[in-house]
Symmetry: C2
Subunit: 354 residues, 2 copies
Amino acid sequence: MKIETPTLLIDKSKVESNIQSMLNKIDSNTIFRPHFKTHQSAIIGEIFKEKGVDKITVSSVSMAQYFSGNGWNDITIAFPVNLLEVDSINELAKKVKLNILVESSFSAEFLHKNIYESIGVIIKIDTGYNRTGLIENDPKIDSILEIISSNNKLTFKGFLTHAGNTYDAVGRIEILAILEESRSKLSNLKQKYISRFPNIIISYGDTPSCSICDNFDGFDEIRPGNFVYYDVMQYHIGSCSLSNIAVAVACPIVSTHKSRSEIVIYGGAVHFSKEYIAADNEFRLFGYIVRVNENGWGNPISGAYLKSISQEHGIIKVPDDIFNEFLPGDIIGILPIHSCLTADLLRKSSLIIN
Amino acid sequence: MKIETPTLLIDKSKVESNIQSMLNKIDSNTIFRPHFKTHQSAIIGEIFKEKGVDKITVSSVSMAQYFSGNGWNDITIAFPVNLLEVDSINELAKKVKLNILVESSFSAEFLHKNIYESIGVIIKIDTGYNRTGLIENDPKIDSILEIISSNNKLTFKGFLTHAGNTYDAVGRIEILAILEESRSKLSNLKQKYISRFPNIIISYGDTPSCSICDNFDGFDEIRPGNFVYYDVMQYHIGSCSLSNIAVAVACPIVSTHKSRSEIVIYGGAVHFSKEYIAADNEFRLFGYIVRVNENGWGNPISGAYLKSISQEHGIIKVPDDIFNEFLPGDIIGILPIHSCLTADLLRKSSLIIN
């Protein structure tokens, strides 16, 4: 393993195991449509494909184009449709089964006038996250359905939510409560509209709840994404163990400062983004520290953590008694706080191991 | 201006004016070696070149390679030397006048054994930021000088500091106090070593202090970078006015939510990074909002701000009374919190205007 600059190490056997664990929980009545925004990688996509996955979720038209070019042909863009990309959406829909998300009559009307290819339309429902989507009893749902139904290129596919509020939850009970609320709201919607649209589905999925829940009854589709790699944030939420984390960033040590027991690495905001976990007394955790070896990495070093990052630098605090083990020119590993953003930044500097 | 996805708008006339304002403050005895990590752009580099700049600072070997390939041949890599890239450093030093930073005998020793080309060596001094560098009376300075002096490929160039603690300062007085501390410490070092190394220089530079200070006497070189674009963080520190900010991210509006007076944009952490300014009651500011027109953008909209971002989404709060002015498919502009990180993320999606 010859590493000179910050490099995302992807442990393939952990990736396979994370995917398999999720698959084991999903029965054959439930569609598994994993979100590929976490890895954005055709190679990681192949691992899913080998396990029988043939439907995916992405969060942008450009990601849909990328995966379409890599043999995926059933794609949901789980993002409120960007009307400015309607030409690209028409182009994509010629090649793949494409689903897009709508949450306003305005956008539905625009699509009605500007979509020339067959396309699936999903209404985004806000079950409590308050970021995007319509609440379950919003009369706009009927207005949208009226517009969609009047156009034979647009097929109403169902309702979808992303309960991102699980990221602010602590522990199993809070997360499962959020999941149950979503299950109830989406199921009610399905009941309400199933007679008019017999094929509609309800789609759910975020890594915390999909990792913790063992029973997806009622949902027709689930779409977690982050679980493929997991990260320190998911560990803190309670979605995974530290050993499930399938990515670490290998970083060169460039300096050591004994007086404050700190190590400076080449590895900063342009590699990790600036996500952190905050605690009392202005403590910020930007990542756990692991030793990297030929086969991957070990458990986090107790008492060591990435305490701050600037554009290219990271500062690691290490316990005094092991300070002397680290020298400029060594490689050290960082378990990232948010693997989606880290993987996005290191797409062109990654290495699959195991 | 046809924009479909998040795009960094770079206002060329503001860039020119920001560069000119800095140049106006620097007399002919002071080397101006701007930091190019902010823009990382050959095109923006040309604007500096037209104004007579021929020496630059970068923060990585890859950035040095990029600018070397674009006609720059006097480059300082202002980052503790990454020993793992010594081969690339030797290669680069064949082509350009290259300076690298050292802050340990260990790294100096390694360079002594592994550098085959003529290269300038600068010792990084920590004048109070506590990130990298040696304190001014550290005996390691002499050890490093001894090693460097024994090798005829390595030329000691002087002392450099980055007083990044100005980013935590508030207002003119605090920032200038930090600058004076650095000037004093670096000047003392120069005095101490000038007889032995008659050509050494002392190099200083961060955007807050270089923007506020009008007198660089004593410094031989200054290296600000962010000032080329500025950003909301610099405005908050007091380094610039809002009208100096030379970049805005044009983002498609994808949804609007009247009940909470919020607008959802395509534009998130993968475009802005996750830098924010925090205030009381968990308020977070991820950017100011501007209207975009053919000639650029206007003043920030009073009462509107980017309140949160996830991977691809941003949520903008707007005042109730102007809510109806915004529709899906419109473009809105965001003045970023940290232009260096935003420009890094949008290197391939930028547009120079004016």
